[in-house]
Amino acid sequence: MSLLALSNITIRYGRLTAVRNLAFTLAEGEILFITGPNGAGKSSLLRAIAGITPPVGGRIDFAGAEITGRAPEDIARMGLSMVPEGREVFGSLTIEENLMVGTGMHAKARNWRSRAATELAAVYDTFPMLKDRRHSQAGLLSGGQQQMLVIGRALMTNPRLIAIDEPSLGLAPNIIDQVYDRLIALRAHRSLTLLIVEQSSTRAMLVGGRMILMRGGEVLLDGDARAIGQSAAMQAAYFGYGEH
Amino acid sequence: MRGSAALRFISTPVILTLILVALALIAVASGSRPFNQTMIDIFLRVILVVGLYIFVGNSGVISFGHIGFTCLGAYAAAWLTMPPMMKQTLLPGLPDWLMQTQLPYWAGALIAGLWAAVWAALFGRILMRLSGIAASIATFAMLAMINSVYSNWESVTAATSSVVGIPIIRTIWPYMIAAVLAVVIAWAHAISRAGLALRAARDEPTAAAASGIDIPRERLIAFVISGGVMGMGGALFAHSIGVVTPDTFYLTLTFTSLSMLVVGGMGSLSGAVLGVVILSSLIQALRWLEAGVTVGTSTVSIPNGLQEITLGIVMIMILAFRPMGIFGNKELIWPPARAVKPDQSRPGQ
């Protein structure tokens, strides 16, 4: 059974159509890259899935329930954690406070405090740098550290799916390597499902997995990342030549 | 287009003028004193709301301070038109030349408008550098500042006590003419280069700034013109009742004028005028009810305050369900074939 299923999704901003009639499904444990040039509708798609700007048409299902048009907090509470573009740390909060914000959704569960503590220890294990600076303000971190923090913050909610918008944006190549190493390790470790939006397909080809190539709000190609990466259609999508 | 375009161009002020003249004629024809007074109130509100529109409508910056200029204008009218004898007892601190001056009301009103415009220029120089919410709150501080000075300057404003003895003008025509004048000034400003630039800056601030529009300057122009109109309105306000106190020109009047502008449509001159007419009718109906209506043998009346409560609720409903007001950015035009499309802009940034 698929964890996330989109059918006929159309997203509009005023008169501008960002995504039209898009559909795909994502199975539990899968890793999916959504790539495409600027303006392809990738970020709009993620925002629709997370419930920030609901689609004007179509249907989104997550974990067996329809989530179209539901509030972002409800969707998050169902186990879909979104890491938006630009990292969006709470700059005036400390690192540890940033990590703890999302644990409130389990506050009704029994012994959630001890579970949150375990989660926190696990996140600190994955990102030791965060532990060293746990009481300093998140706004003071570097871009790469903030990226680690927001991934860690998403993990704290114990999600089934993490959707990340452009994790490599504005980061140095060696830092991007680190971020991806952690992501891949986490996925193996926790049976996470990953939905990663990247403008460039290079990373998808390196990491492997499934890739969807978008352009002009539509799916152009859907298949194995490495296979797509070498195809001519891929070149066409980015550089505009070819029949499309 | 062509021929009708020019016609449309001037049709808005013409239609609005005709409406105002028609209202005056109805009042005169009715021959009823109270009705006449009601119509005078409506014309006064038209002046104030149109004055407010000149700045708020074109710039998109909400101002809570404009009634301050009305206050300046009203007191200026009192200083200029009261008999010197009255001034000597009530306002002993006035300079000698002003004490001896006694102008006809219309000259007083014009000077009052200029006086308010001068102050608008002084305040505006500073305030227009701000934008958004900070600007709105600064205009509020300006209103409070003016109120505080006029409520305390015993020797020239009689502080919080009433200044009486201002000549009362009971004929409707001066008020109608002033309202028409306000509409024409607002329209002339709106179609002028300054007005167009200001609306461009309201709708597309970044693009406007990039194309060389000096936003603070254009805002200042509108602020000064609207301040002048508010001042003239204040002077006539003083002549309509013959008494002024600082608190007449404070929060309640600010609230009433803003609500009329909001209900009519902040971005529209026609909206400003018709907002006044619509809400004034509502206020009048409520006033009759407050005074008591005889039904059969018993008198039914509603409690005091219901007027403002209703006004507030109407304003909130309009803001919730039709935030652009009744008219949005549209104007009344002739021929009415195609209405001007309202743009998507909203007040404020």
């Binding site: 509030a71 972002p72 907090e73 998050a76 509470r77 979104m82 938006p84 969006e88 709470f90 700059g91 005036s92 909060l93 406070e97 703890m100 914000v101 999302g102 409130g104 959704m105 506050a107 998403a154 909610t157 | 998109g60 909400i62 500073i126 305030l127 550098r129 958004g132 919410i133 900070a134 709105s136 709150i137 600064a138 509020f140 501080a141 300006m142 409070a144 500042m145 505080s148 000075v149 300057w153 929060l251 309640t252 609230f255 803003l258 909001v262 005091n304 305050g305 219901l306 403002e308 409560i309 006004l311 507030g312 609720i313 304003m315 909130i316 803001l319 919730a320 909203r346 404020g348 940034q349």
Partner: protein, 304 residues
């Protein structure tokens, strides 16, 4: 010496009121970008809730006779309850509206509350004696200070510490701070928007009620306008402090109180009546020099 001390206490107690008022406005602005002009009328309403409707000059007390330990919670609950009601009935509909529209709506709402009070109580100020035992003076370091002034200052300090502890130490406080900085991101982490906003309104309403209680006990009168005058200063403090910044609001509140009291003392006699005008003028100047306020709140740039 004792004169200086007296000035110091005056400044501190006036500043306390402004700080509490500014805090109530900043709390709501933080989570929903609403400049709440109705805040002042929540102040008036909480106190009038102690009276029976009447137009007499002497207040007909209803709950005002309660002993202090029941009176204070009663007033606070009324304030919080009214603020939550306003959010449920009115402001919820304006969540997606722009800040200017919300601001005018709150201005209108304030008038609705004020004239509702006028309808029941008339516009005439009423004398009321709340907690009369607090008006006796006490001696502190040679200065005679009204007990109420001391209590005002202590109460404000307690409220400030309590609020800080609440925001820093509790889960709800954490969610509120996160939401104030980046509302959408907080929601994406499962923070319930409605709950946080209602919480902010409840806190703000309770703060308003505390101000009402202090004002009414200090002046011995209640007046439907009493909140509006307070609100203007509180607003100014919020703006000077940097809209949305809680420490900024408190700091600016105390500065404003200090400035008012100091001006009262140093201005020449004939200029003293214009003290408030000078304060407003100073505020406009501060805004020109620092349009974002003394302490700019984080996360403000993208939203205002």
């Amino acid at each position: 010496m004792s004169g200086l001390l007296q000035i110091f206490f005056d400044a501190l107690s006036l500043g306390s009121l402004y700080a509490l008022g500014a805090l109530g406005i900043a709390l709501i602005f933080g989570v929903m970008r609403l400049v709440n002009f109705a805040h002042g009328d929540v102040i008036s309403f909480s106190i009038f809730a102690l009276l029976w409707p009447s137009v007499d000059a002497v207040a007909v007390v209803f709950a005002g006779n309660l002993p202090w330990f029941a009176l204070i919670p009663f007033v606070l609950i009324v304030g919080a309850g009214l603020a939550v009601l306003l959010e449920l009935v009115v402001f919820r509909r304006f969540r997606k509206a722009n800040p200017a529209t919300m601001m005018i709506a709150s201005f209108a709402l304030g008038f609705v509350i004020r004239y509702f009070l006028l309808m029941l109580f008339s516009s005439r100020p009423k004398s009321i004696s709340l907690l009369p035992s607090l008006s006796q003076p006490v001696e502190i370091l040679g200065a005679r200070v009204p007990l109420l002034q001391v209590i005002t200052i202590i109460a404000t300090i307690v409220i400030l510490f309590g609020l800080t502890a609440f925001l820093k130490r509790t889960r709800f406080g954490l969610e509120m701070r996160a939401a104030a900085e980046n509302f959408t991101m907080a929601r994406m982490l499962g923070v319930r928007a409605n709950r946080v906003i209602m919480g902010a309104f409840a806190l703000s309403g309770a703060l308003a009620a505390a101000i009402g209680l202090i004002l009414a006990s200090q002046t011995g009168t209640v007046d439907i306008q009493m909140g509006a005058a307070m609100m203007l200063m509180a607003f100014i403090a919020t703006v000077i402090g940097g809209l949305g910044s809680l420490p900024g609001a408190v700091l600016a509140g105390f500065l404003l109180g200090g400035a008012s009291v100091v001006m009262q003392v140093v201005l020449p006699i004939e200029a003293r009546p214009f003290r408030d005008a000078f304060v407003y003028g100073a505020v406009i100047l501060v805004l020109i020099i620092r349009p974002t306020g003394l302490i700019a709140a984080r996360g403000m740039k993208e939203r205002v």
